[in-house]
């Protein structure tokens, strides 16, 4: 049988056809096998059941969380309520943003309301050793309280340069933050895994995952959602883009219902306002951003839905476009109109910024933010205090 033999040529052609079909099937296999998990993608937001305000007496308190901090910079704090009702807070601290001595710090507040002394969870060298790769610096932690009692921690490691060289890692604690697993890296970008940063609170999903608002800051600068969904071997991570471009980023997402949500974007285009976008399909797609009346001086914003359905948003609102005050805006119509109701904190000539708010199981708003460069402050207030601000004359249109 030679290659000129027609039967041999037919056999070769048949074998090549079979090989081609086999290859076709093998390549489609992973896609087909993902169909079951894909059935749970974009499952909708898990909303906490409506709660009446636990206390009717106005309550507002601010405390300094890192009283003995030796670092010059403490920033980007995150907060979570744990399964035992205590609070956990994490932030990054060091000589400055992107410095080699930046560490991820962690503190817990016990049932009596006393914050523990901060302790270091991760430093640059330890993270590099654990992940067996070069790390320049760390940053932007974000706590994930899972329904099964585990506590997750996302944080950024920078491989090269500054924030544009960052990627997101995850570590888990099964003992409410006492011990942590070795960090693992999420691959969220095809070009050297650059760059993704978490910033604002995650939204819980139906079925036990999260929609984590993140942003990219490399060639473009835009908001994204990191979808963490339960899988056989833990959590699957994937990203969808909320909107490309160069101007809006650091999204804060507020679920309004299982399918509807409102996003608040930090805006550095010079418009000086927070921009808003809406989703009606569980966060899969988002509307074009619309400029709101809320002030924004190119600084972080954070929004939250109160137990009674009203929305609050913490923003910097200084006349000179500085970050010297942190004010609270209220909306009773799902973000269509806003009123500034109170100044939460003010440090003339200095900075109070990067608010991070969650709703406590007691119905109170729990908040952490950066102050004076090296402080992390914790604020707690209730809806009665918000109503008191309104009654006292707060309620200026921004």
């Amino acid at each position: 049988m030679t290659s000129s033999d027609p039967s041999a040529r037919r056999l070769c052609a048949t074998l090549r056809l079979i090989a081609g079909l086999a290859g076709f099937v093998v390549i489609l296999a992973p896609w087909w096998m993902a169909r079951e998990q894909a059935g749970h993608s974009f499952p909708g937001f898990a909303l906490a059941p409506p709660r009446a305000a636990a206390d009717r007496v106005p309550y507002f308190a601010v405390t300094k969380l890192n009283a003995q901090s030796p670092q010059r910079k403490a920033h980007s704090a995150t907060l979570a309520e744990l399964s035992d009702g205590t609070l956990a807070c994490a932030w990054y601290a060091g000589r400055g943003e992107g410095a080699s001595d930046v560490t991820i710090e962690f503190a817990r507040r016990d049932a009596s309301g006393v914050w523990s002394a901060p302790r270091t969870l991760f430093d640059r060298a330890g993270t590099a050793d654990a992940m067996r790769r070069h790390v320049v610096s760390l940053g932007n932690p974000l706590l994930l309280p899972a329904a099964d009692g585990k506590l997750g921690l996302l944080f950024v490691s920078i491989s090269a340069g500054k924030w544009s060289g960052s990627s997101i890692n995850v570590s888990w604690s099964a003992d409410l933050g006492d011990s942590w697993s070795a960090p693992e890296k999420f691959c969220l970008n095809p070009l050297a895994n650059l760059s993704a940063l978490p910033r604002n609170p995650p939204s819980a999903l139906v079925g036990g995952g999260w929609a984590v608002p993140i942003y990219e800051e490399f060639i473009g600068r835009y908001p994204e959602i990191l979808w963490l969904q339960r899988s056989k071997d833990g959590y699957s991570a994937a990203v969808t883009r909320m909107r490309g471009g160069m101007s809006v980023f650091q999204p804060s997402i507020v679920p309004l219902s299982a399918g509807a949500a409102l996003a608040f974007y930090r805006d550095d285009s010079g418009v000086g306002r927070v921009t808003l976008a809406r989703s009606s399909d569980g966060g899969h797609t988002w509307s074009e951003p619309e400029v709101s009346v809320l002030p924004n001086v190119d600084s972080g914003v954070c929004a939250l839905r109160l137990p009674d359905g009203r929305l609050i948003c913490a923003v910097n609102d200084a006349k000179d476009r500085s970050r010297e005050n942190l004010r609270l805006a209220l909306s009773a119509d799902d973000g269509k109109s806003w009123r500034i109701i109170a100044t939460l904190d003010e440090e003339p000539g200095m900075e109070v910024s990067y608010p991070y708010m969650i709703l406590g199981s007691n119905g109170r708003v729990l908040m952490v933010y950066s102050a004076l460069g090296d402080e992390i402050r914790y604020a707690e207030f209730n809806t009665a205090w918000i109503d008191a601000q309104l009654a006292a004359g707060g309620g200026d249109a921004p």
Binding site: L17, F24, W31, M33, R35, R133, P190, N193, E216, R241
Partner: protein, 202 residues
């Protein structure tokens, strides 16, 4: 980093070093291959500024694609004169696939394409099952066409799918098994060279 991802990256880097050593004429041919392999192993283990090259590489590029490993392995075999894994058709297919994939992937993934479209998201089938069929289907059709035409590069695409199923890399995105920045760069340069030669020839 999983153990498999660690060893995949280490093996990929070692192959690149073997290929690099074979640039030296003395290390080409079947007799030079063992020396090139040993020297590559030494280079892989020698610390630069306190760490191995793999440590530095993993910080910047966590995923080495299957086609890159395949073309480097094919180049090593060819330079060692041990046989011929890739003929000219396979090389052309490798460069064209790499350049096309780079063109589809990188601009939109870096935010340079349509504002709300991210082609990288097509590589996560559990997230958007329907739209990810575009990527998996296109690669499956390419593999079918190549294998049907007797082009061995089709097997490389099949191997990439197998590696994805076996989670050989740290990434769980199919794109990272198909392309990486180095393969993209080499492919684009090779395609430009092919085009230049063709234009000059005509």
């Amino acid at each position: 980093m999983t153990a498999t991802a660690f060893w995949w990256n280490a093996a990929g880097l070692w192959l690149l070093f073997v290929w690099g050593w074979q640039r030296i004429p003395l290390l080409r041919g079947p007799a030079g291959l063992p020396s090139a392999m040993v020297l590559a192993a030494v280079l892989s283990l020698v610390p630069f500024f306190g760490h191995t090259p793999r440590y530095w590489l993993s910080g910047l590029t966590p995923n080495i694609s299957v086609p890159l490993v395949a073309i480097v392995a094919a180049a090593i075999v060819a330079r060692s004169r041990l046989g011929k894994i890739f003929g000219s058709r396979e090389w052309s297919a490798a460069w064209i696939f790499g350049a096309l994939a780079a063109f589809v992937l990188y601009p939109s993934a870096l935010g340079l394409g349509p504002r709300n479209f991210d082609s990288y998201a097509l590589g996560w089938p559990w997230l958007a099952w329907g739209s990810s069929l575009v990527l998996f289907g296109a690669v499956a059709l390419a593999a079918f066409w190549l294998l049907w035409r007797g082009n061995r590069f089709g097997w490389v695409l099949v191997l990439a799918a197998c590696a994805y199923l076996g989670r050989l890399q740290e990434s769980r995105n199919f794109w990272d098994y198909l392309i990486d920045p180095l393969y993209a760069l080499i492919s684009i340069l090779a395609v430009l060279r092919l085009l230049f030669l063709r234009l000059r020839g005509s």
